[in-house]
Symmetry: C2
Subunit: 152 residues, 2 copies
């Protein structure tokens, strides 16, 4: 099987989308991450779920466990109220990351090796112009590998 055969359509976001929308989209879609595309539909970055969550955690708490620990429970339950209208672009890491992409012709081994290496449970599939054509989740990859073995 090839990446193009097991890829599925996924909702995408842009840097202009509010972080709150991104988190909601991921949760409602039960996705393990999100693809951020540019205005031509090319993946700009593929965010693992934990890094979508990171967008929503106020900066001061991200790297300081002691600070997060002293926030009382009521406020801790609503930390994302502090997000306001912050956009995905406002909260992305400063250093540009190469998006985690494969061509439709990639094998399942290539997809698996890339997911493992990039620590990304979501891989974007792109055409020759670099435009997003679908995505593969870790769950979908595992099911495809299992069914592939069953086909013998």
């Amino acid at each position: 099987m090839k990446a193009g055969e097991i890829a599925v359509r996924v909702p995408t976001i842009t840097v202009a989308d509010p972080v709150a929308r991104a988190v909601r989209l991921m949760a409602v879609g039960r996705l393990p991450g999100l693809v951020v595309v540019d205005d031509r539909g090319r993946p700009k970055i593929v965010l693992p779920g934990t890094q979508v969550l990171r967008l929503a955690v106020p900066g001061a708490y991200q790297d300081d466990p002691a600070l997060a620990r002293v926030v009382d429970e009521d406020h801790a339950d609503r930390f994302w109220d502090e997000l306001g209208n912050l956009t995905v672009g406002d909260c992305l890491p400063r250093q540009p990351l190469r998006p985690v992409t494969v061509p439709a012709s990639a094998t399942l081994l290539e997809v698996a090796a890339l997911m493992a290496r990039a620590h990304s449970p979501l891989v974007a599939v792109v055409d020759t112009d670099g435009v997003l054509t679908g995505a593969i989740t870790l769950e979908r990859l595992l099911v495809s590998l299992a069914l592939s073995g069953l086909g013998d």
Copy 2:
């Protein structure tokens, strides 16, 4: 809300389990990772899903995209047949990692900050003896945070 209130029981593995069993357990349970426990039920390591997958990708392909690219499609679909009886312990990274754990009293903000920092969509909840009492997935955290807001 506290970590202990939203934690759920999850299947666990030990270093003696075959990698094939670990991957199957994760896929069937639709889990974003697995907790590896020692013989006293204490988390030894919490593996994100991509790193459970990594256990199943033969070493030579893990870090060399060029090598994975030349494997033909039929073999690529069945790379995990090469696993044989390899155990989780055989395939874990050499350097010991601190398990991603919180006490039951941790707030949802603490859980979120830890998931984001550790890039782990699964957090183990432990009692005062360090024994696993449950786990929190990223999906469960997001649903809990959303419901918390709705309760107003």
